[in-house]
């Protein structure tokens, strides 16, 4: 695939992520903060998000396996996940966290279990999509091209 085709593929891919609600305006904000002094800024922030989210999702799974469920602690963790997903523009994950928090507040175990599954699913999707996007960007850079805005 030549450079122009790669660049077009990236633009189309990125656009679809916004159209399908995977990403929102905040991701654009992140990209606008990246410059020659900080060329890996977006990748760095998103990597932090991946690490942080995986830690939180593990803790939430463990919390729901306990005999006595600490809903307050879970709510605090979902709040963290909601915050970080909002900060990078991971729109679908953020929206699910809002629902999740309602179930925590209502101390609804079944609701929480279902939500956790959904959040894990959506997180998996956005992780795969962002990684694919970064790979495409790297291919363009390797081919000597620049990333289209």
């Amino acid at each position: 695939m030549d450079l122009v085709q790669l660049q077009r593929q990236l633009v189309d891919y990125r656009t679809s992520l916004y159209h399908e609600g995977f990403l929102d305006e905040q991701f654009t904000q992140l990209q606008s903060l990246q410059d020659e002094n900080n060329p890996d800024f977006v990748v760095e922030v998103v990597s932090l998000f991946f690490e942080d989210s995986e830690r939180l999702l593990n803790e939430l799974s463990k919390a729901l396996e306990q005999q006595v469920i600490d809903f307050k602690r879970m709510d605090a963790q979902v709040h963290q996940l909601k915050g970080s997903s909002s900060s990078i523009g991971a729109h679908r994950v953020q929206k699910l966290c809002i629902v999740f928090r309602n179930y925590c507040e209502a101390q609804n175990v079944e609701g929480c279990l279902k939500c956790l599954q959904q959040v894990k699913h959506e997180y998996g999707i956005i992780k795969t999509k962002l990684e694919s996007m970064f790979q495409l960007e790297q291919q363009i850079l390797n081919a000597g091209g620049s990333i289209p805005v």
Binding site: Q26, Q29, L30, S32, L33, N38, F41, E44, V45, L48, F49, D52, A76, H79, Q80, K82, G83, S84, S86, S87, I88
Partner: protein
């Protein structure tokens, strides 16, 4: 500003006059830039805030908790430290603005705000940030002395509001 004597510089070799001048210039520039203390327990939000502030040419120090912020300001073990100059110099730290997240474990943003306003740092503007738009929380912080309450995630355009507060807090010549 005191001229740096070459005996005071700890290094392996004596700096050339040109390098000395560059070092002095750098330090002078840093002195002139506003210094923001940013407090947030989220590693992602700290990285974002740091970038936003640096992109606006501010000097930034990020800490991960209210306790660490109090420690930095010298407020952790004393109730009222020695009086500071009007330029908000204290313990060798200059702080022109404090930006803090509201929801933090341990010392919350609100706790931090109250401690600052009850100390010799009280004239330093404090901006409270939150991902939640809760009117009662907003009025509580403003009544507690916060200069501004901002909704996360912050954007570059939000930093313009902050600049106005910083310029206001400059000492008059």
């Amino acid at each position: 500003m005191e001229l740096m004597k070459s005996e005071n510089i700890v290094q392996d070799r004596q700096p050339q006059p040109q390098e000395e001048e560059e070092i002095m210039q750098q330090e002078e520039e840093e002195e002139q830039r506003f210094h923001v203390l940013a407090v947030d327990d989220s590693v992602i939000d700290r990285k974002l805030l740091e970038k936003l502030l640096k992109a606006s040419s501010y000097q930034v120090t990020c800490v991960e908790s209210g306790e660490k912020a109090l420690e930095y300001l010298g407020l952790l073990h004393h109730s009222s430290p020695a009086s500071s100059s009007s330029q908000h110099h204290h313990q060798g730290h200059k702080v022109n603005l404090i930006m803090t997240d509201f929801s933090m474990p341990g010392t919350s943003g609100y706790d931090l705000l109250k401690r600052i306003k009850g100390s010799s740092w009280k004239d330093v503007p404090v901006v409270v940030m939150s991902s939640e738009n809760v009117p009662s929380r907003i009025s509580m912080c403003l009544e507690g002395g916060a200069e501004e309450f901002m909704l996360k995630p912050l954007q570059l355009s939000d930093l313009h509001k902050i600049q106005a507060h910083l310029l206001k807090s400059l000492p008059h010549s």
